[in-house]
């Protein structure tokens, strides 16, 4: 469903992505790992359509369409969801405030009728249970005064509501204690179907005990330098990122 070929991107004249290749099929879970600053969030942002990043080379095909040709809202309506590493605070706007509009925009795009207030609330209740999130959090200004864990849980809650085809979770595990991690992973797993796919960005193997990936890729200095199955994550955990850095640097010399 997603084919990334030779993707290059830069921000403010700094090259960050330097030729990414990735192929994701429905039903798959891909983990992207790598040290800080290697370009994981940049990749996630480019896929979601952030304009600060300029794609200088390469292509991204999503469900047969040119993804790079769509604006962020069109991508969301086509089923792409980004759980942000650092979700922004929006004073005066609560999750419930925008989620109904969001959901109904997506439904409209899919040719479905808008949800009425009752069905919307019912769906909210269901998904709130799934990620064990409190109603009060959803009526507060988005992320204002939220703890790290609350922010991440809110992202997963939104994902559960919007039922994306391709979810990109950017370091959703960081800042979560083990209970929260389990809840978030459980939510993600319950939403998995043979139709949708997930890209899990993380730099710890920990999350992958709960969300078991089909493939693991190591991103370093803007390139995927190693791909494998979930054993690669264990090996990384054992040998550390220096091992990757050394092999990668050796290869470029």
């Amino acid at each position: 469903m997603l084919t990334i070929e030779n993707l290059h991107a830069k921000v403010e004249s700094k090259d960050i992505l330097k030729g990414i290749n990735l192929n994701v099929k429905p039903g798959e879970v891909h983990a992207i790992m790598g040290p800080n600053g290697s370009g994981k969030s940049t990749l996630a942002s480019v896929l979601a359509g952030r304009e600060d990043f300029e794609v200088t080379e390469g292509s991204v095909e999503y469900l047969g369409n040119d993804l790079l040709d769509m604006n962020p809202a069109e991508r969301a309506r086509e089923g792409i969801f980004l759980a942000f590493q650092y979700p922004v605070e929006i004073p005066g706007v609560s999750t419930t405030n925008f989620l109904k509009t969001a959901l109904n925009q997506i439904r409209k795009h899919q040719g479905l009728d808008p949800l009425d207030a009752v069905s919307f609330l019912k769906q909210m209740k269901e998904k709130m249970q799934l990620v064990e999130i409190d109603q009060s959090l959803l009526s507060r200004a988005l992320n204002e005064g939220f703890s790290g864990g609350e922010k991440k849980r809110n992202e997963i809650f939104q994902m559960a509501m919007l039922e994306p085809k391709l979810a990109i979770l950017d370091e959703t595990d960081s800042g979560l204690d083990i209970d929260a991690l389990r809840i978030v992973a459980n939510g993600v797993n319950k939403l998995r179907t043979s139709e949708n796919a997930t890209i899990v960005v993380t730099h710890y193997q920990r999350l992958l005990d709960y969300i078991v990936p089909d493939y693991v890729h190591v991103l370093y200095d803007g390139r995927i330098v190693k791909s494998g199955t979930k054993e690669l994550a264990l090996e990384l955990e054992e040998k550390g990122y220096d091992w990757i850095k050394e092999t990668a640097n050796a290869a470029t010399i």
Binding site: A48, G49, R50, E51, N71, P72, A73, R75, A76, R77, I80, F81, L82, F84, P87, V88, I90, P91, G92, V93, N97, F98, L99, T101, A102, L103, Q105, I106, H109, Q158, L162
Partner: protein, 448 residues
């Protein structure tokens, strides 16, 4: 050669016309009380001295109101134009609310459109011209005592020529349950109009009232409102004052609201400007006793070539009072906002808390804002702060909402509504708040 001396020969035609009008009025209106005549005479003298603010006037430097009036109004336009039967008035008036409705059309009270619901024991509402006759004691005690004709020419002009407006007296210990909605409607269907209403609201000890002054336009020609309101907030009284401006694009407005607060009173003001040609609001608040609390909120949400200039002044004269001010602006198209916030903390006003904030969003490159805080503090044990920000819509917030499927316009509208809600939520008259929210939502949907 010496510099040109501003003399009578260099007066603008409009100033001369206003002075002549005032002069004639002094000579012909002998029916009112000697006190009111005296107030008018003094104001006339002040007006002659001050003249209307010219281009060099610091207080009006962003708002060239005199020039605009001179350009758009001829001497024959400035006499009152009566239009009792203006069409389309009823739809301007808030419905579905138990309220005292008072309607002025081109400065003249319209009995036909007005309706009083509160019992007279709770609140006395009359026209000012009636009060000049029937409440001479209160008039002599309060009328013209707060509106400063010595420094502001438009106050002087209004004081010199104003004949009518609303008089409100809330006796001691009364909570007026129904709000008072006063509509000032400019009807320019037949001709250009100039109206100069004048209001006096006296709220006695331990009483409470909600007041709304709402400005609207019928017709396409130029109209001008020069209004003055004096509000006396006595001990432990609570006054919620609202000024709403939804005027036509060829209307001009100079408004002066002068408030005096005495001990332990609470005054809230919400000023919302949605449309008009050129609007200048002066809100002057004198806190003349201890333990007072005051809040001033403003929202100006402008498009096209509207100019809205809010000048506020808070004068802390006594200790232990609190004032808080939040003005927010959203400027679209070629609109222009001006904010000037003066805060004085006098030597006796120790332990004053005074806060001021002005936040602006510019939606286009052609929109602009001039903002200036002006704090003058003579007391040493005080907490005062001010801040002003001007920016665009936050790109991160916009991106976030777009990744959830909202298009740019929806996301922008949502963010702007949230921005405005800080001010609008302070309107406690729910139907009024809802009407404004609706107007603003429609504007956001249309323009972006």
């Amino acid at each position: 050669m010496s510099q040109i001396i501003i003399s009578k020969q260099h007066q603008t035609a409009i100033e001369e016309a206003f002075l002549q009008q005032a002069d004639l009025f002094q000579k012909t209106s002998h029916s009112t009380s000697p006190y009111v005549q005296k107030v008018r005479r003094e104001a006339f003298a002040n007006l002659e001295k001050l003249g209307l603010p010219g281009n060099k006037n610091e207080e009006y430097k962003y708002t060239r109101i005199t020039r605009a009036l001179n350009k758009h109004f001829a001497p024959e336009n400035i006499k009152p134009a009566y239009a009792e039967n203006a069409i389309g008035i009823s739809q301007l008036i808030l419905s579905g609310i138990e309220a005292n409705i008072l309607v002025f059309v081109n400065g003249k009270f319209s009995q036909q459109h007005s309706n009083m619901v509160s019992p007279p024991q709770e609140i006395i509402i009359s026209t000012l011209s009636e009060a000049f006759e029937s409440h001479t004691n209160l008039i002599e005690r309060y009328y013209g005592k707060y509106a400063d004709s010595k420094t502001d020419a438009f106050t002087a002009l209004n004081t010199a020529v104003a004949e009518d407006g609303i008089f409100i007296y809330v006796p001691q210990g009364k909570v007026v349950s129904a709000p008072v909605l006063i509509y000032f409607i400019t009807d320019t269907t037949e001709e250009k109009t100039v109206s100069q209403p004048r209001n006096l609201y006296i709220i006695e000890e331990n009483s409470q009232v909600d007041l709304v002054e709402s400005f609207h336009t019928v017709g396409e020609q130029e109209g001008y409102h020069n209004i003055v309101s004096e509000i006396v907030v006595n001990k432990q009284a609570v006054v919620n004052y609202h000024k709403i401006e939804i005027e036509g694009k060829d209307t001009y407005h100079t408004g002066n609201t002068h408030v005096v607060q005495t001990a332990e009173s609470l005054f809230n003001a919400v000023t919302v400007s949605v449309s008009g040609g050129m609007i200048r609001n002066n809100l002057n608040l004198v806190i003349d006793a201890e333990n007072c609390e005051s809040h001033m909120y403003g929202l100006y949400m402008l498009d096209q070539e509207t100019l809205v200039d809010n000048h506020t002044m808070v004068d802390h004269r006594k200790a232990n009072s609190f004032s808080n001010e939040l003005y927010k602006g959203i400027m679209d198209d070629k609109s222009k906002g001006v904010f000037n916030g003066k805060v004085y903390v006098r030597p006796d006003a120790q332990k004053t808390n005074a806060f001021q904030s002005n936040k602006n969003i510019l939606l286009t490159d052609d929109a602009s804002i001039d903002t200036k805080p002006q704090l003058e503090i003579w007391a040493d044990d005080v907490k005062c702060s001010h801040g002003a920000t001007t920016g665009q819509i936050d790109a991160e917030q916009l991106f976030y909402l777009q990744t959830r499927g909202l298009d740019k316009r929806q996301a922008t509208a949502l963010l702007l509504k949230a921005f405005a809600s800080d001010v609008l939520q302070n309107i406690r008259i729910q139907p009024l708040r809802e009407v404004l929210e609706k107007i603003i939502s429609q504007r956001l949907q249309k323009d972006l």
